[in-house]
Symmetry: C2
Subunit: 228 residues, 2 copies
């Protein structure tokens, strides 16, 4: 579902260039539950942003759901993002003027799902992530980990083909992190949603079936996780 | 250096009240290196914000550095914050239009430290947290963990009496987290800076000499950490 060849990403201005990604080759099959780890600054967010179509490669080829991103018009790209990809940002990116419920149902609303249907789906999910009763609050009235869970709900509610999650458990306690991972794994095993997420937490890495290690903008290791 | 008695904090509107803190008694001695853990939503950020004078109690008495916060004028309160307290926010709160260096030296500048002196201090610290070479970048050009480290540098550069840190290692890998904690402990042991920080990371909790557990707005456990 993701096929990347020779990906590089440079950020540069005034002669100072940062090589954030330095030649990444990566294939993710549909149905995978794969974690990515690596030091702070190694390129995890950059890679996720490019796969999600939120940023462009400098060189290389990125294919998502069979479509080569560089060839898509911006309309086609946003439609792919809206309908096929769920994105959980490292800093959540909730909309401050919308309530928890409105934030969580946002993509379903963009997709034209009826109000009744999307509210039911989202209320159930909010309950599963421990946010029952918070539907009418605003993001600024939530703790860090609560905001993170609204961002997760928004991304998984449409059951997209691919969920890209940037450190989805960074701001919650271990008990909540485990519950969130169980929820994500359930979605993966029952509905075939592909998950590709970055994390700094060894306990989260253990839950993945495959672990990709990023270092200085390159993949340094890539392998299946031993069971048990 | 911190003395809290009977602290409660309610957030409420339109009849729905959230009891974020429900009666907290806490004393932190000068020179401590104390961690606070607890589930997402248990009140950690709320407690740190109130100790740092960024939010007001609903009831109860909060004394910092011998001064009762409720009795301070807003001028005296901001002076206490500027000169005595270093604050690391859960979402960093860097100033987007200032560079890494300008953000990191911000409090020293407010304190009237000369440009030459503050630049030297901040450059050394930025090097220690692994951000050498990034001084002229802007926050949006940094990874999550890099932004977090700028926020840490800003808080510790003035060597305040008390540093309040809200999940200071949530967005960095374990190696960087350990280096940051070593730096904070060094400041604690060599300069007597008091540290009170919240965390979800068991490895970080182990490094503290005392651990306070928060649950549903109350302290549920409070004790020294066993050595070794
Ligand atoms: N606009 C930019 N200009 C210059 N450098 C940038 C820019 N954006 C990101 N970078 C650099 O690219 C590198 C990779 O950043 P990225 O955010 O992908 O790291 P990361 O692995 O997600 O780190 P973390 O674990 O701290 O979130 C970093 O060194 C960062 O400083
Ligand atoms: N403005 C507000 N209005 C209503 N409730 C609020 C408001 N701000 C915070 N709360 C609630 O107060 C409780 C404590 O929040 P706080 O941010 O202190 O939690 P926390 O322990 O820091 O959580 P986390 O580990 O997720 O960061 C939460 O249940 C939160 O929803
Ligand atoms: Mg990142
Ligand atoms: Mg918090």
């Amino acid at each position: 579902i993701v096929n990347i060849q020779g990906l590089t990403k440079d950020y540069g201005q005034n002669g100072v260039v940062t090589h954030a990604l330095r030649g990444v080759d990566l294939t993710i099959e549909s149905g995978e539950f794969t974690a990515m780890a690596g030091p702070s600054g190694s390129g995890k967010s950059t890679l996720l942003n490019i796969i999600g179509g939120l940023d462009r490669p400098t060189t290389g080829r990125v294919e998502v759901n069979g479509q080569e991103l560089n060839r898509l018009s911006s309309t086609k790209l946003s439609r792919l993002r809206r309908d096929r990809i769920g994105f959980i940002f490292q800093s959540y990116n909730l909309i401050p003027v919308l309530t928890v419920l409105e934030n969580a149902e946002y993509v379903l609303m963009l997709q034209g799902v009826s109000a009744a249907q999307r509210r039911e789906r989202v209320r159930d999910l909010l309950k599963e992530v421990g946010l029952e009763g918070m539907e009418d609050r605003f993001p600024r009235e939530l703790s860090g980990g609560q905001q993170q869970r609204v961002a997760i709900t928004r991304a998984i509610a449409p059951e997209p083909a691919l969920v890209l999650a940037d450190e989805p458990t960074a701001n919650v306690d271990s008990k909540t992190a485990i519950a969130l991972l169980d929820l994500m794994r359930q979605l993966n095993e029952e509905k075939g949603v592909t998950f590709f997420f970055s994390t700094h937490d060894p306990n989260v890495m253990k839950q993945a079936r495959r672990l990709v290690l990023l270092r200085d903008g390159r993949i340094s290791r890539d392998g299946g996780m031993v069971e048990g």
